[in-house]
Symmetry: C2
Subunit: 507 residues, 2 copies
Amino acid sequence: MDPFGILYTDLYQLTMGQVYFRLGLHEREALFEAFYRKNPDYGAHQAGYTVFAGLDPLLSWMETARFGNEELEALGALKGRSGKPLFAEDYLRYLKDVGGFSGLTVRALPEGRVAHPQVPLLSVEGPLLQAQLLETALLNRINYETLIATKASRVREAAGEEAVVLEFGLRRAPGKGGESATRASLIGGANRSSAVSLSHLLGLPSSGTHAHSLVQAFLALGYTEEDAFQAFAEVFPDDTILLLDTVDTLHSGLPHALKVFERLRRKGHRPVGVRIDSGDLAYLAIQVAKELDKAGFADTLIVLSGDLDELVIWQIKSQILEEAPRYGVEPEKLLKRLVYGVGTRMVVSWGYPALGGVYKLVAIRENGTWAPAIKISDSLEKVLNPGHKKVYRVYDGRGLATADLLATFDEEVREDTPLHLRHPTDPTKRRTLRPGEFTLEPLLEEAFRGRRLFPPVPLEALRERRQRDVARLDPGVRRLVNPHIYHVSLTERLFALKEALVAQLSG
Amino acid sequence: MDPFGILYTDLYQLTMGQVYFRLGLHEREALFEAFYRKNPDYGAHQAGYTVFAGLDPLLSWMETARFGNEELEALGALKGRSGKPLFAEDYLRYLKDVGGFSGLTVRALPEGRVAHPQVPLLSVEGPLLQAQLLETALLNRINYETLIATKASRVREAAGEEAVVLEFGLRRAPGKGGESATRASLIGGANRSSAVSLSHLLGLPSSGTHAHSLVQAFLALGYTEEDAFQAFAEVFPDDTILLLDTVDTLHSGLPHALKVFERLRRKGHRPVGVRIDSGDLAYLAIQVAKELDKAGFADTLIVLSGDLDELVIWQIKSQILEEAPRYGVEPEKLLKRLVYGVGTRMVVSWGYPALGGVYKLVAIRENGTWAPAIKISDSLEKVLNPGHKKVYRVYDGRGLATADLLATFDEEVREDTPLHLRHPTDPTKRRTLRPGEFTLEPLLEEAFRGRRLFPPVPLEALRERRQRDVARLDPGVRRLVNPHIYHVSLTERLFALKEALVAQLSG
């Protein structure tokens, strides 16, 4: 049995399915929405947005996941406390007949786009049983990939849109979750990954240097660090990046590298760069740049690695801007030659390791109309925005995104009439936009209707979506620390529906 | 190409491999060790030990990972900056001939056992190229699984060895890394997982209840919460656990559940339990227990869920011990009927999301003897313990583990002579144990020699190993907050070797 097949899910999806089946509710049309409640808060710093990722892998999974004989045998063998089978034969036969997710329609935010709390990332419409069964796998994919794409986007913003960011995290990635980590990192902001098979399958070359063990092996055999560097340079004369800190960055690694670079140059090759993996990276980068410049290697790259994240990169850049001139190094030129190798802290989303995305029933079809579903909760923020909905992004006169807007599915939202925005929970907060002051963009698009509706989107296109969307955010929302809160609003009509439902259930 | 095959690795393993190949060093016998430097520090609380996991999946991978035609084609297509192929044909032919990891010998800490910082978890011996190539996949598996097994062990200790802990984390697990998360959770302390296919493949039944959506669906269709409960109970009369908090735990969920339980009882069934997923779980558990007792359901379980971790569970138990008597509920009896559903915070190791395990070259064979390798570093703690080593666990007169001891591979460490222990970095710290005061247990066992040497160990055996080892820890080391530091020591001889190497390289 494929561990990642249709049973890559929680047991309760299948027990609830049997309840629906027994009551004849299993084919009742239902509508679920996936969203998350708050942006990542990393402690010392916070996200003002996320980057949606994980959709393509989810759609591919939906198209292939099937109840086969192995899966049904496994389910048939499960026993309840009475010792009798947990699942009845007629229910399992039904699952076999249904097969998979062919009854579902998915509308989704295009992958790679900027997303915000409380705004549906996906809506799933179809037979209650199928839509319920999708929950775990859907959340498994989009929670993690969105989390990592968001972290990568922050790393990219700290490094600057022009800088090269490499993803080095496979060794600390969560088992086979490395697949999602690499993909999401590349969507969110990394240029390349060191992971070979994953890069290959994504259509990108992998990238890397050498490890400390190369130098260690040479030293243990009685050779020198310079011998190790020289050996590497001879095998990869046009791709030489030398790791400087196995013995001592400035007093051993750098002088040895310079000798080897000099020999490469004499043979007509251009050394690519050096890497520093420990120590005070900003200080060392300045000193290394100074010596490289002096020796005439002003265009070689300086790769920094070792527990980098968005805040560390920001700190390194600030320190270089301040200190480089003191050593006669031009800071802007130095920043341009830096490459950031980011591993652990990107692939585990250091500081906020789980996005709390949820998948909630928001409506169920009864006699041809959608009856809204709601869940009351002690905390007002956890009360669902009910019913079948439409989602818009509202842009202001500068073309910057100013709010995401949720509307009921059947109301008309127009650019040529005043637009009333309501805060989703605070009835005192409202705002009106006049025609001419705003434009509207519908956000969700149909992605799956029994089968996926478009082929996998090339990674490059996803990267461009993210870049374009981030550029349309207010700089305050993009800020790494204490960002502005982006507005998510309801239309008057949706706000009224929510109030009525809460009153009805609470009363 | 299988994304998780032999190219599930970093590019630099393959570029370094070509350097070794070109210099004729690729078949030189090398010794690498995998270890981690510090126990997880979750911020408000800290781990005093870890639980080693990930070995079996690694060994299975090593046995099957192969350079096939697809992998070699992918590598052959990689271009350097000059536009020429990065990898030469003779090198790729060699990789094809070698195939995989048939030259390697792995000695490992048995999976499921307690582990400590700086102590080798695995040693890998064999041709330099193969041993180097294993690095990324090895770290990918053991870093994450050890991290999660450790968190699960803490959750288990907080809940108590007798309590039932369920793993509910698949929806927040990192993509396909859910496979490792479930496995490690079950090794470290969870009794069951909600994940269906993963539980099945591990030979355990999966476990679960129902979701809020069941109640929501009934409400949206004009039925009541009680109808939803009743429907569930009719389909699963001997496996009924009802989720109480969709509307209001005490004023809606509980009274509805009691009515349904009463009907079940009249038909000769025993309701299994209730679940509470939000609110003040300790307070609600007390109130729910009180009402269940009053209605004669004193043996039904109370499942708690919702962002639980070791500290939250500890807090809930403390609060119950203090407050339950005030409501006439016997606290010890209540604790015995609690079941903990732990999800997100276990599978992402909330507070410390990455174990910094490393894989370092420690020796290389030259003229028949092992030449120790070392790496100097700015931070003393990062200096390697060099050379080919043996590893012991030292138990005191009470049978409790008192230290892990690293020795050189060829020295004799005996129980009948005084044992001198040295702190790995602080020369002023030493300790001597007299014969009769201690016993020695060698920790690493041969697990792979060209192929795995024993079949996968059943999960139950791994769970027992963990339980036995944790029981042999000093209670101070097991403490959830501010634990005692477990001693990791070197023999006099290994300490002297390390000092000599550092002096030689620094001098």
